[in-house]
C-alpha cells in the first residue's frame, strides 16, 4: 500500500478536502513519428498508478500481438485507442488522457507527429496551456520540431517543455543534451515563448519522468512530473479584461431576463459598469445568478447568468465587456488561418465563420502570404491546402466583437465551416481589425432600390442560368430577354463571353479563377438588382458553392436559379463552338464536363430539359414562372 493509499483508507474525508484544492493543467505532447510520445504518456499513467489491473492485463495481451517492445509492456498501447492506430502503430487522432497527482489534475492531449496531421496537433494545442515537445536525443532538432514549435506558438502556448528523449540510446550524454538545448533556444527565439524548460529523459526506462534519474547526475533540474506539477502557467496571463460572450438568453418568465455564458476572461462584480459589443449599449450588472445562490463576483472560466439594470437588447453573439476596456468590433479582420480540409481554401469563396458564440457568413478576400510551417518563411500563394497556414484578410457579412488572439485566446479565435457539408474546414486566430472597416460608411443614398424598381414598374431579380457549355443557356437567356424587353421591362444580360472579354479578362479557367469569376459576376449582378433591373446571368457556373454565394448576395426573393439540363453526351454531340472536340484532344485544359467538374443544382427554381423542350418553349416556361411569382405583371398581349 502506498502512502497515499494509507491516507485514503485512514481518513477519506480529509483526503477529499485536499483533493478539492488541486489545480488544473491541460497540456499537449508532440514530437516526430518515433520520438515516443505515446510511450511517455503511457509511462506517466503507469507510474502515477492510474492504470487499472484489467487494463494492464489487456495491454499485456495486446503487447504480444501488436507491441513494438518484443513482448515487453508497450505503454503506447494504453494511449493509441483506435483500432487502425493499433494496427499501424502510429497515432492518427488526438487522444485525451487524464491523470492526477497530489498537487494537480492533468488533461493530456496526445497528438500525431506526421506532417499530414498538423491539424490534429493544432486541435490539441488550442486548449492547452503547455506543450511537451519530444526530441530524439540521437537526432536532435528535426523539421518536425520546428513545425510543432511553430504551431504551439501560433496557438498561443507560452510554456514549453523540451523533453530530450531516448537518452539511454545516447549514453546519457550531457554534451548531447546541452547542444540540443542550445539549438532549441536559438531557433525558437522568434516564437515568443515565455518559458522553456529542457529535461533529459528516457520514456521507455522511466528516467527523469516521475523521479530523478541516477543515470544523469549532471542534470540539476526537476524531473518531468515535478515540473508539470509546479510550473505556473497563469503568471504571465492574469485574468485580463472582463469578457462575457452571451451564449443564451435565459427567460423563464416575464419577470426574469438573464444572459447566460462562460466568463472568457477577467472578473465581474455586482454593480460593474458594462458595455455590449458590437451594439455599444451600456448598463450595470444587477445580479450574478447561479443555482445555489447569487454571487457578489465571478471570474474567468465560471459559467454564470447575469442580469442588468437596464432593459437593453442583447442576444447570443454579443460580448459583454467591462466599460473601461471594451473589445473591438469589425467586419474586416486579418487572421492566420490553418486549413484543415482536403478541399482547398479559395479566396473569394464563402464560408461560415464561427466565433465562440456567433456564426456569420465570411469571405477570405485575400491571402497575403502562406507561412512555411517548417522554417517559418513567408511564401506567395493563392490557395491554402490541407495543413497549410496563411495570413488572410477576411470580410464578414456582419461585424463581430473580438480581441486580438495574443490578448485573449477565447475571444480572438474562430473556426471556418463549409456551407455545403457543415464540416469544420479551418481554424483562425485574429491578429487585428483592418483599419479600413472603421472608415467605410455605407453611402446613405436618397434614391434606393425600391424607388428605382418602382420607377420601372418591376421587381428586380437575378435569373441565374447554369448548365454545361453548349447546353443552350445563352440561346434561352437571349430569348427570355427579348420577350421581357418586348413587354417593356428593363433588363440586362451578363453572358460568359462578354464578361470574360472585359471585366474578367485577367482570369483563366482553373478552379480558383472560376470561383473569382463567379464572385465578380455575382457582385455585378447585385449592383444591377440594386439599380432595379432584371438581370439575366448565363454562365456555366459549375460549383454549387459559388451559385449559393451568388444567391446570398441578394434578398431571398431576388434570385431564381435556372438549370439548363442537357446531358454531357448531348452537349458534346451538338458542340456548337467545337470546344468539346478541342477539349477531348487536350487543346483546352480545365473544360467543364471533361476534366473539370460540374455540380448540378439540387433544387433549382426552374429546371429546363432541353431534350423535351425547344428553346422557345423553354423561354415561355421561364416567363410563365416570372408572371406566376409576380416578378412581372401579366400583360394583355
Amino acid at each position: 500500500m502506498t502512502d497515499q493509499e494509507q491516507i485514503i483508507s485512514k481518513d477519506i474525508v480529509s483526503y477529499l478536502k485536499t483533493q478539492k484544492e488541486k489545480s488544473f493543467l491541460r497540456f499537449i505532447t508532440c514530437g516526430s513519428v518515433d520520438d515516443g510520445k505515446s510511450t511517455l504518456i503511457g509511462r506517466l499513467l503507469y507510474d502515477s498508478k492510474l492504470v487499472y489491473e484489467d487494463q494492464l492485463n489487456a495491454i499485456k495481451n495486446d503487447s504480444k500481438k501488436f507491441g513494438t517492445q518484443g513482448g515487453e509492456i508497450d505503454f503506447a498501447l494504453l494511449v493509441d485507442g483506435l483500432a487502425a492506430e493499433r494496427e499501424q502503430g502510429i497515432t492518427i487522432d488526438v487522444a485525451y488522457k487524464f491523470f492526477s497527482t497530489s498537487k494537480r489534475k492533468f488533461i493530456v492531449a496526445d497528438t500525431p507527429g506526421h506532417e499530414q496531421y498538423t491539424r490534429n496537433m493544432a486541435t490539441g494545442a488550442s486548449t492547452a496551456n503547455l506543450a511537451i515537445l519530444l526530441i530524439d536525443a540521437r537526432h536532435g532538432i528535426q523539421v518536425q520540431t520546428r513545425r510543432h514549435s511553430y504551431i504551439a506558438s501560433l496557438l498561443g502556448i507560452k510554456s514549453i517543455v523540451v523533453a530530450i528523449n531516448k537518452m539511454d540510446l545516447a549514453d546519457y550524454s550531457q554534451y548531447t543534451f546541452n547542444s540540443i538545448e542550445e539549438d532549441f533556444r536559438s531557433f525558437s527565439k522568434s516564437l515568443g515563448f515565455d518559458h522553456i524548460r529542457c529535461i533529459p529523459i528516457s520514456a521507455l526506462n522511466g528516467d527523469n519522468i516521475t523521479t530523478k534519474s541516477e543515470r544523469m547526475p549532471w542534470y540539476q533540474g526537476s524531473c518531468l512530473l515535478q515540473h508539470l506539477e509546479t510550473v505556473d502557467v497563469n503568471s504571465n496571463q492574469n485574468d485580463g479584461e472582463f469578457r462575457f460572450p452571451v451564449q443564451w438568453v435565459n427567460r423563464p418568465d416575464l419577470n426574469f431576463r438573464g444572459f447566460s455564458g462562460t466568463i472568457a476572461s477577467g472578473q465581474v462584480n455586482v454593480g460593474d459598469e458594462i458595455i455590449v459589443i458590437p451594439s455599444g449599449q451600456k448598463s450595470k450588472v444587477k445580479k450574478i445568478v447561479t443555482m445555489g445562490n447569487d454571487l457578489e463576483y465571478a471570474r474567468k472560466h465560471q459559467s454564470v447568468t447575469l442580469t442588468l439594470h437596464d432593459e437593453i437588447d442583447i442576444s447570443r453573439g454579443d460580448l459583454i465587456c467591462g466599460r473601461s476596456h471594451p473589445a473591438q468590433q469589425s467586419n474586416q479582420i486579418q487572421a492566420h488561418i490553418l486549413w484543415m480540409a482536403e478541399k482547398h481554401l479559395f479566396p473569394g469563396r464563402g464560408y461560415l465563420l464561427k466565433t465562440i458564440n456567433k456564426t456569420v457568413p465570411a469571405t477570405v478576400t485575400s491571402l497575403k502570404h502562406k507561412v512555411n510551417v517548417n522554417d517559418f518563411s513567408k511564401e506567395a500563394g493563392n490557395i491554402l491546402k490541407l495543413n497549410e497556414v496563411g495570413l488572410c484578410n477576411i470580410y464578414l457579412d456582419e461585424p463581430i466583437a473580438f480581441d486580438p488572439y495574443s490578448n485573449n485566446r477565447q475571444t480572438g479565435s474562430f473556426i471556418l465551416i463549409d456551407r455545403q457539408t457543415n464540416d469544420t474546414v479551418g481554424m483562425g486566430v485574429i491578429n487585428f481589425s483592418l483599419r479600413r472597416a472603421a472608415n467605410i460608411v455605407w453611402q446613405n443614398t436618397q434614391v434606393g432600390k425600391t424607388q428605382r424598381a418602382e420607377q420601372k414598374h418591376q421587381k428586380p431579380v437575378i435569373l441565374w442560368f447554369t448548365g454545361l457549355s453548349g447546353s443552350g443557356k445563352s440561346t434561352i437567356a437571349n430569348l427570355v430577354e427579348r420577350k421581357l424587353f418586348d413587354i417593356g421591362r428593363h433588363t440586362y444580360l451578363l453572358d460568359g463571353d462578354n464578361i470574360r472579354h472585359g471585366l474578367n479578362k485577367d482570369l483563366g479557367f482553373t478552379d480558383i479563377d472560376r470561383v473569382e469569376n463567379i464572385r465578380r459576376i455575382s457582385e455585378t449582378a447585385k449592383l444591377m438588382v440594386d439599380a432595379g433591373l432584371i438581370v439575366l446571368v448565363a454562365f456555366i457556373s459549375p460549383f454549387t458553392a459559388e451559385r449559393n454565394d451568388a444567391r446570398c448576395t441578394v434578398n431571398k426573393d431576388e434570385f431564381v436559379e435556372i438549370y439548363i439540363n442537357t446531358s454531357l453526351e448531348e452537349a458534346e454531340k451538338r458542340d456548337v463552338k467545337g470546344l468539346y472536340a478541342k477539349a477531348r484532344r487536350g487543346e483546352i485544359k480545365n473544360f467543364t464536363g471533361i476534366d473539370s467538374e460540374y455540380q448540378a443544382p439540387h433544387a433549382p427554381e426552374i429546371e429546363i430539359n432541353t431534350l423535351s423542350l425547344s428553346a422557345e418553349e423553354a423561354a415561355m416556361k421561364i416567363i410563365d414562372y416570372l408572371q406566376k411569382n409576380e416578378f412581372i405583371v401579366r400583360t394583355e398581349s
Binding site: 485514503i8 483508507s9 474525508v13 478539492k20 484544492e21 488541486k22 489545480s23 488544473f24 487499472y52 489491473e53 484489467d54 489487456a58 495486446d62 494511449v79 485507442g81 483506435l82 483500432a83 493499433r86 492518427i92 487522432d93 487522444a95 485525451y96 488522457k97 487524464f98 489534475k105 488533461i107 491539424r119 490534429n120 493544432a122 486541435t123 488550442s126 486548449t127 451564449q247 435565459n250 423563464p252 447566460s260 462562460t262 472578473q267 462584480n269 445568478v289 447561479t290 443555482m291 457578489e296 463576483y297 472560466h301 465560471q302 459559467s303 484543415m340 464561427k354 465562440i356 458564440n357 485566446r409 477565447q410 479565435s413 474562430f414 473556426i415 465551416i417 457543415n422 469544420t424 481554424m427
Partner: protein, 345 residues
C-alpha cells in the same frame, strides 16, 4: 519614496541618506500597504477555480451551446450515477429556467426495479418531462439476456431501441453521459460527435474540435451526440456527487442483497424472471454495484461501503476499471469502437 526618488539616486551614486529620510520612507511604505490591503477588501478577488469547478463550468457551457445551436435536443437519462451528475448540471446550466428539453430513458425491460422507481420519483420531484421507450419489436419477440445472450439483447433492446426513439421524436441532438476515461476509443471521440442519417459514427472522419467552439451544424436527418462529461473521470464524478450532495440510487451503496454467482459475476436476483440453474440458490451477501444497467448483465461486488466517502475510498483503492462489471466490452479491444460506429452510446 526615498525623498521622491532623489534619495535613491543619491544612494545609487554611492552617497548617503539621513535617518529621517529613511524613517519617512518606511512610514510611507506602511500607509501604502494598508491602503493596498483596504483595496483588496473592497474589490474581492475570487480565487482561481479548482478542478471540479472547471469541469462543472465546461459541462454547463456545452449544454447551453446545444440549446443555442440545436433545434430539437434530448437528454438521455439512464438513471446511473453519471446520468445523475448530468441531470444536476442541466439544472444548474439553465437556472432559473428548467432544462428546456425532455429526458429520454431507453428501458430494456430488464433494469433493476429500484432504478425505475428512482427515475420516476426524481422526474416528478423536479417537474421534468420524461420519455420512456422500449423497443416494441424486441418486446414482441421476447428478447432477453438469458435466452438471447448479452450481445443480441444489448443490440436490440438498447442500440436499436435508442435509434427508434431518436427517429420517432426527430431529435437532432442527444446528450449522453459517456466519459473519455471509460474506454480507449472514447478517448478520441469529440464532445460534439456527428452521426449520419443512420446514426453511425465514423471515427476516421470526425470534425476537428477547437478551443471551446463547437460546430453543431447538421443537414436534415443527421444528428449530434453530445457528451458534456467527456473530460470527467470516475473519481471526479464521485467527488462531485459528494460535494454537491447529488441523489443516486441506493444500489450503489452496500446492503444485503440476494445474488447468485455466475462465472465470477455476482448477479442480483431482482425478480422471478431470472431462471435459476439446478441447485443454484440465491445467497444473501453484502454487495453494491459500481455501474447500473440490466440486472442480469450487471455484476455486483462484495463490499461494505455504505456511505459516499466509503465508496470513494473503495474506488480509489480498487484496481479494476469500471466497466469490468459489464459484460459487453470484454471481448476484444476494439469492441466498444465497433458498437459506437453502429450507434451505441
Amino acid at each position: 519614496m526615498l525623498n521622491d526618488g532623489k534619495g535613491l539616486t543619491r544612494l545609487k551614486n554611492g552617497g548617503q541618506c539621513t535617518l529621517k529620510t529613511l524613517e519617512t520612507a518606511f512610514q510611507k511604505l506602511e500607509t501604502l500597504e494598508i491602503e493596498a490591503h483596504l483595496r483588496d477588501d473592497t474589490i474581492p478577488q475570487a480565487t482561481p477555480l479548482n478542478h471540479l469547478q472547471r469541469l462543472e463550468a465546461e459541462s454547463i457551457h456545452i449544454m447551453r451551446e446545444v440549446i443555442a445551436q440545436c433545434e430539437n435536443p434530448v437528454m438521455l437519462y439512464s438513471v446511473g450515477k453519471d446520468s445523475s451528475v448530468m441531470l444536476h448540471l442541466a439544472l444548474k446550466a439553465f437556472y432559473p429556467s428548467l432544462p428546456p428539453f425532455p429526458f429520454l430513458h431507453i428501458d430494456t425491460g430488464w433494469k433493476f426495479k429500484e432504478m425505475i422507481a428512482f427515475r420516476d420519483r426524481r422526474m416528478k420531484e423536479l417537474k421534468l418531462k420524461l420519455l420512456v421507450h422500449t423497443n416494441p419489436d424486441g418486446l414482441e419477440q421476447n428478447i432477453n439476456p438469458f435466452t438471447h445472450g448479452s450481445v443480441t439483447h444489448t443490440d436490440i433492446m438498447k442500440t436499436q431501441g435508442l435509434k427508434q426513439a431518436l427517429d420517432h421524436y426527430g431529435f437532432t441532438a442527444a446528450f449522453g453521459g459517456a466519459r473519455r476515461d471509460e474506454e480507449k476509443s472514447r478517448a478520441k471521440e469529440r464532445i460534439f460527435s456527428f452521426r449520419t442519417t443512420s446514426h453511425q459514427w465514423d471515427p476516421k472522419n470526425q470534425r476537428p474540435e477547437l478551443w471551446n467552439i463547437y460546430n453543431a451544424r447538421i443537414s436534415k436527418g443527421q444528428s449530434m451526440r453530445v457528451f458534456p462529461l467527456s473530460n470527467w473521470t470516475e473519481l471526479d464524478i464521485w467527488q462531485y456527487i459528494y460535494t454537491e450532495q447529488i441523489q443516486i440510487p441506493e444500489l450503489y451503496f452496500a446492503a444485503p442483497r440476494k445474488v447468485v454467482d455466475r462465472g465470477g459475476a455476482l448477479i442480483m436476483v431482482d425478480d422471478d424472471r431470472m431462471p435459476l440453474k439446478d441447485g443454484e440458490k440465491p445467497q444473501e451477501k453484502m454487495v453494491r454495484f459500481r455501474t447500473l444497467g440490466c440486472y442480469p448483465l450487471t455484476g455486483a461486488i462484495e463490499s461494505s461501503a455504505s456511505t459516499l466517502p466509503d465508496i470513494i475510498r473503495e474506488v480509489l483503492i480498487t484496481k479494476t476499471s469500471e466497466r469490468q462489471g459489464r459484460i459487453i466490452d470484454a471481448d476484444n479491444g476494439a469492441s466498444m469502437e465497433d458498437k459506437k460506429r453502429e450507434g451505441y452510446f
